[in-house]
């Protein structure tokens, strides 16, 4: 990780290797436990998901409420492993980039490999720093879920590491 790789939504993620330091600028959708459950149920019923998941980036996060004059509150990553049961399904539907923190299951790693996707990690507990890199926020689905609603974020230079690359290589200790 000698050089920071600048990436965006259209970047070919198969070029990334586990351990690469990246800065992501572009659009990401927040979704955590409850939103994943609803999206999976929607997919089971054959309904469309609230956003185009093909090629999308999902950020596992639930921010604090925005204060007056701010677009969003503090917004760090949550533990990705809690989404593991839903993730292979999301990848089958075309999800390309996942951003969170911590380990993933073997099933998720295999699915990442199969779909040539990528799992990036942000530093857990740097919610104020990440908030300062968010330039736009729009609620797109499930407003009744509060902090767990799906939000479309535009981010500028989000500092991330490639934790599991498209070949299934991981830098996290098992």
């Amino acid at each position: 990780m000698s050089e920071t790789i600048k990436i965006s939504n259209d970047y070919d993620v198969t070029r990334l290797k586990a351990g690469d330091e990246v800065e992501f600028s572009g659009v990401i959708y927040t979704a955590r436990d409850a939103a994943h459950k609803r999206m999976t149920e929607a997919a089971d019923r054959g309904e469309p998901l609230p956003f185009e998941i093909k090629g999308a980036a999902i950020y596992y996060a639930g921010p604090t409420p925005a204060r007056e004059g701010e677009i969003i509150g503090s917004c760090g990553p949550t533990t990705s492993a809690r989404m593991d049961d839903y993730t292979p399904r999301m990848l089958d539907l075309g999800l390309k980039i996942m951003i969170g923190k911590g380990k993933r299951s073997n099933a998720v790693t295999e699915s990442i490999k199969k779909h040539k996707a990528v799992y990036l990690i942000a530093v857990g507990g740097v919610a104020a720093l990440i908030k300062s890199r968010i330039t736009a926020c729009e609620e797109v689905a499930y407003p009744d879920l509060g902090c767990e609603a799906i939000r479309r974020l535009t981010v500028d230079r989000l500092p991330l590491l490639v934790a599991i690359d498209s070949r299934g290589c991981s830098i996290l200790k098992a």
Binding site: M1, G19, E21, A34, A61, G62, P63, T64, P65, R67, G73, S74, C75, G76, T78, T79, A81, K101, G102, K103, I121, V123, G124, G125, V126, A127, A128, L129, K131, S132, L145, G146, C147, P159, L161, I171, L172, K173, A174
Partner: protein, 276 residues
């Protein structure tokens, strides 16, 4: 006579302020860890954590979006008198203290959010006198999910305790947002050990136990955990844990309960003495 409205007000202010600031002792431990660390990826993470905690303080923002379960450790004198319901006053303080924070409390079965971050988890200790002291700890899910309890046999002894903690931290890996702080409860019953592991975290971070027998165990647990090489955010290096605090309590001749509370680096707590 304590006025319940004043308890609510003072507790709310204390919670609001402490949720926006990482314990300065922990920031010092993080700074030392960052200066000592040789693993580049770990330094990448530690640098961001230090920058984050500085941004949070400067902008009066929450350092972590997980503002946690509100835990209250209440020490109340048996002669203390109140003009209303103490429990309701404390819940009111939590509700108001979390007005701008994230509402993270849900029904365990329906998962419906209570929308005001109550109820708090409250422990009461009755003591002599008429004092009232409340220690607030914001406990985030990422680290709390990684805690554990082991009912050891007495034959396992000191080394068994160290091995149990190492095992729990090893399983947790990157999930609890290392570098972590460890609260270890030893003795009592299963539930008592768990509460002791929380109380251990209420001591000034990094300060050894006054009993040298316990202090040396804390030091050995810390070394053993850091030898795991999990490191900051699970990226490797020598700083998996910043500190280990243990509390003990006499136990049954046939028991050796060991409980571990894992605390992330975003340590937010405060102590409020209402008798002043």
């Amino acid at each position: 006579m304590y006025k319940c409205s004043e308890i609510t007000e003072k507790l709310a202010r204390g919670i609001d302020a402490s949720l926006k600031r990482v314990d300065c002792r922990v920031v010092d431990l993080l700074r030392t860890a960052c200066a000592e660390e040789t693993n580049r990826r770990a330094v990448w993470a530690l640098d961001q954590i230090l920058e984050n905690d500085e941004i949070a303080e400067r902008t009066d923002s929450y350092p972590c979006q997980d503002t946690g379960v509100a835990m209250l450790f209440v020490t109340v004198g048996t002669e203390a008198r109140f003009d209303g319901d103490l429990a309701a006053a404390l819940e009111g303080g939590v509700r108001r203290g979390y007005a701008q924070a994230r509402k993270s409390i849900a029904h365990p079965l329906t998962r419906i959010n209570t929308q005001d971050n109550t109820p708090a988890v409250i422990y009461y200790d009755a003591v002599s006198g008429d004092g009232l002291k409340v220690t607030f700890l914001a406990k985030g899910a990422g680290s709390e999910n990684m805690g554990g309890v082991r009912m050891l046999t007495p034959s396992k002894g000191r080394q068994g305790i160290i091995d149990a903690v190492v095992n729990i931290v090893g399983e947790a890996g990157a999930n609890p947002c290392p570098p972590i702080l460890l609260g270890v409860g030893i003795g009592g019953t299963m539930d008592k050990a768990c509460v002791l592991s929380k109380r251990a975290l209420l001591r000034p971070c990094g300060e050894p136990h006054p009993d040298p027998l316990v202090a040396s165990l804390e030091a050995d647990i810390l070394s053993a955990v850091n030898a795991l090489g999990i490191g900051a955010q699970g990226l490797g290096g020598n700083h998996t844990a910043l500190a280990c605090a243990a509390e003990i309590f006499p136990t049954h001749i046939g028991m050796l309960p060991v409980a571990v509370t894992v605390q992330c680096h975003s340590v937010r707590h405060t102590e409020i003495d209402f008798s002043r």
